[in-house]
């Protein structure tokens, strides 16, 4: 047990700093929550969009995206506020949140720009997901996320070669394979490298 009274020699001080930093670890499994939340939200929005567009005459078939999106933003905001207020946060997690915040803003900007120009945005939203997922996987040293990111890149390129009406299906499947599968693997991972 470490006690207060002891005064450190320079050698002991250096060793203590080294040991304390080496022991400092964060449970990066907690970072699985945003992948699970947004994986479910975007996958459900994508498949709902496809079903409404193909099998109903509903004029506002695109509504699942804004509706699910608002739910996701509110849930993310509440989760983030609670975690920031009560937990140990590493500089990596701080970077992780800020990177995904910027990518989230980019996601909505891409949707607005493409919809305004009457283009289907899914190729570009997949690319944004690919950037974030691959980067997260590389920084966490968690291979399933890296593979998920590569799947997003592949899906983005694939959408260029298929009809517009089916791009949203690729989008939904990509979010299941790229977010949900690695997200659950991250959540239940037994041992991960310290970040």
């Amino acid at each position: 047990m470490v006690t207060e009274e002891k005064v450190l020699s320079p050698q002991e001080g250096l060793q203590l700093i080294s040991d304390a930093i080496a022991m400092t670890k964060e449970n990066i499994r907690e970072n699985s929550f945003p992948f699970l939340l947004w994986g479910w939200i975007v996958a459900m929005a994508s498949f709902s969009f496809f079903l409404l567009q193909h099998y109903t005459g509903f004029e506002f078939y695109f509504l699942p995206f804004p509706v699910f999106g608002v739910v996701g933003i509110v849930a993310t905001f509440i989760y983030h506020r609670r975690r920031i207020a009560t937990s140990t946060i590493s500089y990596f997690t701080d970077f992780f949140y800020k990177m995904w915040l910027v990518l989230g803003i980019s996601f909505f900007a891409v949707v607005v720009i493409n919809v305004s120009q009457n283009n289907v945005p899914f190729t570009y939203t997949l690319l944004i997901a690919a950037i974030g997922t691959t980067t997260s996987g590389l920084v966490m040293k968690f291979r399933p996320l890296v593979i998920g990111g590569i799947l997003f890149f592949t899906a983005a390129i694939t959408t260029v070669y298929i009809a517009d009406e089916y791009k949203v299906l690729i989008h939904g499947v990509a979010f299941i394979l790229g977010y949900l599968v690695p997200g659950y693997l991250l959540k239940y991972a037994v041992k991960l490298p310290h970040v």
Binding site: T3, G13, A20, I21, T24, S87, T88
Partner: protein, 94 residues
Amino acid sequence: MYSELDAMLNVPVRLAVVSILVKMKQADFNHLLEATNTTQGNLSHQIKKLNEAGYIEVEKTYKGNYPQTICRLTVKGRSAFQKYVEAIKKYLHL
């Protein structure tokens, strides 16, 4: 003895707390307790001293119904840590 070493930092628990906070944006009390392997009372005492010296800032909050203590390193604390490391290097001729 070791007069160039900051007396506020040259004590095991306080140095461990500051070393952890150098790497973390913020750390809660339980995390520090586990990492320093000391008693709750001693850790509270050392956190109070670091806070009074302006080396760390302490935020009291709640996690559910349980009180939670969050610690963050201040600019003064980071600067003191850097000076402490430089002084150690000087002693050890590194």
